[in-house]
Amino acid sequence: MDMKITDKIIEKHGLKIQEYNNIQKLLKRDPNFLELGIFSAMWNEHCSYKSSKIHLKKLPTKGKQVIQGPGENAGIIDIGDNDAIVFKIESHNHPSYIEPYQGAATGVGGILRDVFTMGARPIALLNSLHFGSPSHPKTKNLLNGVVSGIGGYGNCIGIPTVAGEIKFNDTYNENILVNAMAVGHAKKDKIFYSKAKGVNKAVVYVGSKTGRDGIHGASMASAEFDENSEEKKPTVQVGDPFTEKLLLEACLELMKDDSIIAIQDMGAAGLTSSSVEMASKGLLGIELDLDKVPCREENMTPYEMMLSESQERMLIILEDNKEESARKIFKKWDLDFVVIGKTTNSKNLTLKHNKEVVGEIPIEALASKAPLYDRKWKKKKLTKKNIELKKFKKLKIEDALIKILSSPNNSNKSWVTKQYDQMVMCDTVQRSGSDAAIIRIHNKDKAIAVTVDSSANYCKSDPITGGKQIVCENWRNLISVGAQPLAITNCLNFGNPENEEIMGEFAECLIGIKEACEFLNYPVVSGNVSFYNGTNKKNIYPTPVIGGVGLINTLSKPIDHNFKKINSIIILIGKTFGHLGQSCYLKENFKIEEGNPPEINLINEKNNGEAVLNLIHKNLVISAHDVSEGGLIVALSEMSIQSKIGVRIEKAKKLRNLTEFFFGEDQGRYVLEIDKKNLSKVEKILKNNDIFYENIGITQKTFFEIEGEVKIDTNDLFKKNNQWYNNF
C-alpha cells in the first residue's frame, strides 16, 4: 500500500542519505511515506535553520527594550505605557520568481500572520525587493507582478504599506528577492505565544480549508533553481487577503479573553510545523485526527494534508470549556473552526486517519534532534586595490549627478508606492519617500519609525564591513526622522551554504551585524534566513536585509528630509574622506564595482547619531537626511527634489577633490537644515559633543547650485528623477 522509499524519493524530499539514516536511527525503524514527508519538511533548511543556527546564536538579542527575542513567531519590544511592538521580516524569493503576483502576495500574508498570531494588530507593512537588470527580459514582468501582489494583499486587508526598497542588479537576474516585513501593535499584558501547555487540551484548526497548494513549498524554498524548476510550478499558492482579514479580526476578537493557551500560524510546512512547534516548545505530544481537517479537495491524503501550504490558516490550543464561545466568534466571521486533535503526554506527533494511526514520530526527532551543521567557510579575500580617480575620464559633476538621479536604482519610486495604500488606518504620519516611515500609535501622541535597508555590493566586497554598514545605515535612517532606534529584524538572503565561500559571506556578514548591533545597543529580535538563492551554481550577492524600528515619544513635529524654506543653513555632520570604492558614482557612471566599501567607525556612528537626535529633540533641526548611496550631492538633491527648494553649496574650503567630496560614501554622516537663528545653539551642542561638522551652504530659491560647478533648476532635477519608471 505505502510507497516504497527509494534513494530517489529521499533525494526528491531534499534529504541527504545520511540524514535519512539518521531518521531511521531516531525512529528505530524505516519511516513510512507520510513520515518521510514530515521529516523532510521539518528538516529542510527553511524550517530547521540547520546551516545558520550556530551563527545566528551569536547575535545580540537582549536589551531592556526586548520583550521577546528570536524563537517565537515574531520579535517584541517595549515602547512604554503597556504598548508593545511586534515585528518580523521574511523572504518569499522563490515563489515570487515562479509566480510574482501570488508569490509576493502570499509573502505579505504569511508575515502578517506571524505578527497577529502574537496578539498584535498589524499597523504597517514594509518590503525589500531586489530584481535583476532592468534590461533583463523577465524583470519588467516580475516587477509588475511583485508590486501589484504586495499592493493587492496589503490594500485589501487594509494595512498600510509604508516603506521599502527596490534595487536592480544583474546578480538577481534568475533569482529575485522579495522580503516582506510586518509591524504590529499589542498590549504588553496581552501577548500570545506558541508554547503548548497542559494535556488533553483541544487543538483547533481555524481559517481557510486545506487544498493541495504548495505541497513541498518549504523544500522548494531551500532548493536551488535549475532548468527543471518549471516542474515545481504546481506548488504555487494563491493568497486570499479577504479571508486573512476575517482571520485577523476573528483571532483578535478571540484574544480579548483568555481562551487561548497557544497559537501558531500555519506557514511553511503548514499543519506539520505548526503542530510540532507548539508541542516541542511545551515538551508535549500532539495527536491529530486528519479526518477532521477541513479540506478543499476530495480524497486528500494524510501526506497532502500534513504538507499543504494553503494560506490563511491557524492552529490554536484552547483552554477547557472555551470551545463554544470560540466557535461562535469564528462562525461570526464565516471561518472554519474544527477541533482536530488534542495535546498528549506521549511526546509524539500522532496522526490518525480512518481511525488508524498512520504516522507516529517523536516530536524531539523533528525539532531538537533535527540536523545541525557547522558548515565549512572561507574568509573573504579583500581587495587591496585602491580606487584611482585619475584612471577615469573626467566627468562633469553635474552630468554624473544627473546620471545617478535618473538611474533605475536611484529614481523616484512613486510609480511603485502609489500602488500601495499608505494611508489606511489613518495613523501614517510619514509615508514612504523619506528616510523612514512614521506610524502613530492609535489614539496616542507617540509613534514608531520603520525602515528596511540592504547593501549587497558592500557585503559582496567585504562582508564584515557590509554587515556593519547596513545596521548603521538602518540606525541612521531612524535617527534622521527623530526616532530612537530600538531593535531590528533581519532577513538573510544568501546563496548555497554548501559552498564554502558563500558560507563565508554568511558567517562574516553576521560578524559585522553582531558587532554593530552590540555597539549601538540595537538587538536583533527576529528574522529569517533564505539560502540557496541562485541558479546553476551562480549565487546571488550576499544580501542581508535589516528592518529597524525606532520610537518617537512625542509627535509634535515629525521631521522629514525635504527642505522647508530658503536661507536656512545646511550643516554636514561627520567627516568626509571621499571614499569611492563600491560607490554609486562608479557603478552608475562607469559600471565599475571595485574597491572596498567605506569603513565603519562605530564610535563616530554612535556619537554623530546621538548628537543629531539630540538636536532634533531640541527642535533645532528643520529637516534631516542621512548621507548614503551616492554621497553628499545625492543626499542634498533628494532634499531639494520634493520640496523644489534649491541650495547654494560653497566650494570645499580646503583643497579637496570635488568628485570625491561630493560622491564619496563615507559613513556616519547627516545633512541638517538649520534655521539661521539657531545656528549658534546648534554649533555649541556639536562642539560640546566633539562632533565633526561643516557648514556647507544655504538653501535658496529655484536652483540646485554648487559654486562654479553645478547649477540646475530644481524642476529639472525633479523631472530627471521621475522619468525612469514612467518609461519603464
Partner: protein, 225 residues
Amino acid sequence: MRSSVIVFPGSNCDRDVAVALEKMQFKNQMVWHKETSLPKSDLIVIPGGFSYGDYLRSGAIAGKSLIVEEVIKAGKSGCLILGICNGFQILTETGLLKGTLLRNKNLKFINEDVNIKVMNNQTKFTSKYNLNQILKINIAHNEGNYFTDTKHLEKLKKDNLIAFKYCDENGSTNDQFNPNGALENIAGIFNEKKNILGMMPHPERMIDKVISNTDGVNLFSSLIN
C-alpha cells in the same frame, strides 16, 4: 446627530470613519452586516475597504446583503447616506446611485493625494465648503473610474448632482488631472434628492494635521448641522 457605520466583512476604513465622526461629535454606532435592522440614525456611512474582497465586482456582494435592504429603505425615505470609496461602489450596486465604477484606466491601484473641486455647496454634505473650493484629498482604489450613460450624465449636470470633480491646483478639470479615467473627472455624485452622496476620495483621511491636512473636516461638520 446619530450616525451608523455599516461594517461588512472586508471593510477596512470603518474604524477610520468612526474616528472622524466621533471627533466631529456624532454619536456613532457600528452596525454589523448580519443585522437586520438599523439603529435610529440621521446619517448612515458605508465605509471604504474591500467588502467581500471586492470579489466578483467591487461592492457587488455587499450591495446584496440584508442590512443594505434597510439602508435602501432609509435612503428612499430621506435619511442621509454617505458612501466613501467602496461605499460609493456599494451604493451604485444597490441602485441608490446611478452609474458604475470601472477599473482605473491604468489598471493599477492608485493611492495619492489629489485635488478635487466642490461642484455644489448647496447640499447637506457640502454646505460648509465654498463653491469651486479646491480640496486636497487622498484616494485609494482600484475601481474609481466613474461611468454612466449619456442621459444620466446630462441629468447629473443639469440638476447639479455632481459633488466633486478631480482637478489641478487651480481648479481646471482636464484629462491630465484625472487619476482614474472617470467620466468628466467625476469624483463624487449625489442622488436626485441630494440626501445620498457617493465619493471615491476619503474625507476621513483628511481630518488631522499630523497625518495629512484638514480638508475633509467640513464635510463632516456640514452634516452635523
